[in-house]
Symmetry: C2
Subunit: 145 residues, 2 copies
DNA sequence: CTGTGTGCAAAGGGTTTGCAGGTCT
DNA sequence: AGACCTGCAAACCCTTTGCACACAG
């Protein structure tokens, strides 16, 4: 946890930005809720608990900044709000999501699973793949009863 | 083309709706630009060419209606606007998209490609899949030079 | 006459931006 | 002083909604 914060601080400094108290509080919330796919508003409300003076705009600006630095990833599940998650440090692509249509929970699949499919696409369509998004919609193991 | 319009007219009637001139004009535009993934605004502007009196709200309402009837599919590529495409008549899932990061063109892949992957997910995660979304981001064959 | 459908304008929700301070060097 | 950063409010964009009117059954 601490090391990751330090790492992010360095990334900011390298690009000429500071780790202000507001930014630190925002990163802290993201780290504490890493598996939750928070929206900007979610992050804002959570940051406010410990830093009530923070403004929504600052949270948006911080999230945008972290996205630019590729620290986090902005994802969109089609419900009208952007959500954010940490980027895997080394992963070429990010992981996949399982969205439960009953309870709304978003689980993750770490495996890639798509290597064969990507080969087919690159060959058959002459399309140079940079990234992919794969989402499954269905019923999660918790809601099957 | 004509038959498809008739078909849609019947689907509307079955559900208690009428094929008004505005709805017909909207469907017409969708049919004429089937491979273009139009946004609501795009549809509106195109409909306006032949039916200048139409209102944007009507287009939105028509698109929502057609989505409910499962005639079209609302898709979201993460750029902040909803886009629409016809549903494959028999396909269990819809197809996949190749989005070019240079020219922005969206091509389609008709094949499923994911049957094996789905089996893995259903078994390993005990997740009952209803639908999936797969998008590749990269460089299309036209932009590779 | 009742219900559905329409156009317009207003409201709505999420996100971005302009601006006047504020902070750190 | 200068550059960066912040909070607030206003602006923005896409989409939805309220309302009065139009039209068909």
């Amino acid at each position: 946890m601490k090391e990751r914060l330090e790492r992010i601080k360095e990334q900011l400094h390298t690009s000429g930005y500071k780790l202000t108290p507001q930014r630190e509080a925002t990163v802290h919330v993201l780290l504490e809720n890493e598996e939750d796919h928070l929206s900007a508003e979610d992050v804002y409300l959570l940051v406010k608990v410990k830093s009530p003076e923070i403004g929504l705009a600052t949270v948006y600006r911080t999230l945008e900044l972290l996205s630019e630095l590729k620290v986090i990833h902005k994802i969109n599940f089609g419900d009208g709000v952007a959500r954010f998650e940490f980027r895997a440090e080394n992963a070429e692509h990010h992981h996949h999501h399982l969205i439960c249509i009953q309870c709304g929970t978003v689980d993750e699949i770490e495996e890639d699973l798509l290597e064969e499919v990507e080969q087919v696409v690159e060959q058959d369509f002459n399309f140079k793949i940079v990234d992919h998004r794969l989402t499954f919609h269905g019923t999660c193991h918790r809601c099957q009863s």
